[in-house]
Every structure is written in structure tokens, then in C-alpha cells.
Point group: C2
């Protein structure tokens, strides 16, 4: 990946897109959306995302979710990917860093997959 400061998609900047069944995706939108799907395209990342999404109070600190069978640096690496894709946000509070899902972004992905309209 060309990691010269990946732009970390803003939660607001996701009016993308109409359902796939309704219209063909533009080249630009396909790049944007593919990056999001790709972020969920790894089992470890999907489990981390799942742990955050299903956590009490909608958030979880890294220490609560890092038991996924890989080393702690690898967990951190995956969480960064999810952040860069715009799917998670993070906030440091004292010693711990808390992660939350970005609901609008995830809703955008779900809307894209809604084939019934």
C-alpha cells in the first residue's frame, strides 16, 4: 500500500453510494468502497471489528479485544487498517485507547449491498 499518509476517511464523508442493484458504481466510488470492504476482508480484522461492534457501551479498549490469536503489534496493525478505512475511530483516555465503530460508514456499506431497491 502506498502509505504516504493514508487519508483516514472521515465518518461524515460517506454519502457513498446508491445500492449496487440500482446503478453501476463509478471508478472513484469503487476505489473508496473497495477499501472499506478490504478492511473487513481479513478474519482477524473482522473479529476485532466484531468485538468492538458488540462491546458494552459501543466501545472497547485494545486490552479487551486483543485475544484473537496474533501478537499485540499485529492487533495494533489491524486496528490501524480499520481506522484508516474509516470503519473505526479511536480515543485515548489515560492509559487505554478506546475504539468505536463509525456507524454511518458501516451503514453506507450495508446500503450498497441492499439489492432489494
Amino acid at each position: 500500500m502506498s502509505n504516504l499518509e493514508l487519508p483516514v476517511l472521515e465518518p461524515e464523508a460517506v454519502p457513498c453510494c446508491a445500492p449496487l442493484s440500482s446503478a453501476e458504481l463509478s471508478v472513484g466510488d469503487s476505489v473508496t468502497m473497495a477499501a472499506m470492504f478490504k478492511a473487513l476482508g481479513d478474519p482477524v480484522r473482522l473479529r476485532l471489528f466484531s468485538k468492538v461492534a458488540s462491546a458494552e457501551g459501543g466501545e472497547a479498549c485494545v486490552c479487551d479485544i486483543q485475544d484473537v490469536g496474533v501478537s499485540q503489534p499485529t492487533v495494533s496493525h489491524h486496528l490501524k487498517k480499520l481506522r484508516e478505512a474509516g470503519l473505526l475511530t479511536s480515543e485515548r483516555r489515560g492509559t487505554w485507547v478506546y475504539y468505536r465503530v463509525a456507524p454511518s460508514v458501516v451503514a453506507g456499506m450495508a446500503a450498497l449491498l441492499d439489492l432489494d431497491r
Copy 2:
């Protein structure tokens, strides 16, 4: 990818899964679902999928959708990936091969991303 005959997921075999917000994904389910998200995690593949999903009559032959900026073998390769992930089905009719989306599989992905329940 370890391509020793990838099992080509059955459209029926996808009662997976409950929304991510409701419960943590199992290891097995995370592998299954990640493979699907990964299939949509490439811009070219997402555009091909989009072209099929938005096609007249719900299907398209390769010749109708192969104008995505890569070579014909590459298009074929990507369509195979989408088939293997269970997202598309294909059928040969005479000279042409027609692709359709597997609605239940895509619906399963959308359901997983539904955070509002």
C-alpha cells in the same frame, strides 16, 4: 491464496450471521465472511460485481462487463474469485457465459453490517 480447489460456497449455505452489533463473530464465521468481504475488496472486482448487479434482467455476459481497464484474462480471474466467494453464479449458454449475483449471500453480508439491532 491456497487454491487447491477452493470450495465455492453454496448460495444456500449462508444463514451466517447475526448482526455484528448483537454478538461476537465466531472464528469460523469470521473466516467465511471475511472471504466474502475480501472478494469485494478490490476496485476492479467491485466494479464487475456492480455491473452484474445493475444489469438488465439481473444477469450479464462477460462480454458486456469486461470493459474495466484490465486484460480479459484478468477479468476472468476476478470473476472466478467472486464465484469462489459465493457472490456470483455463472452459467454457459451457447457461446456466452452469464453471471448473476447470489442474492441470499449478499443479503447475509448486509445483515451482518446492520448495526441498528
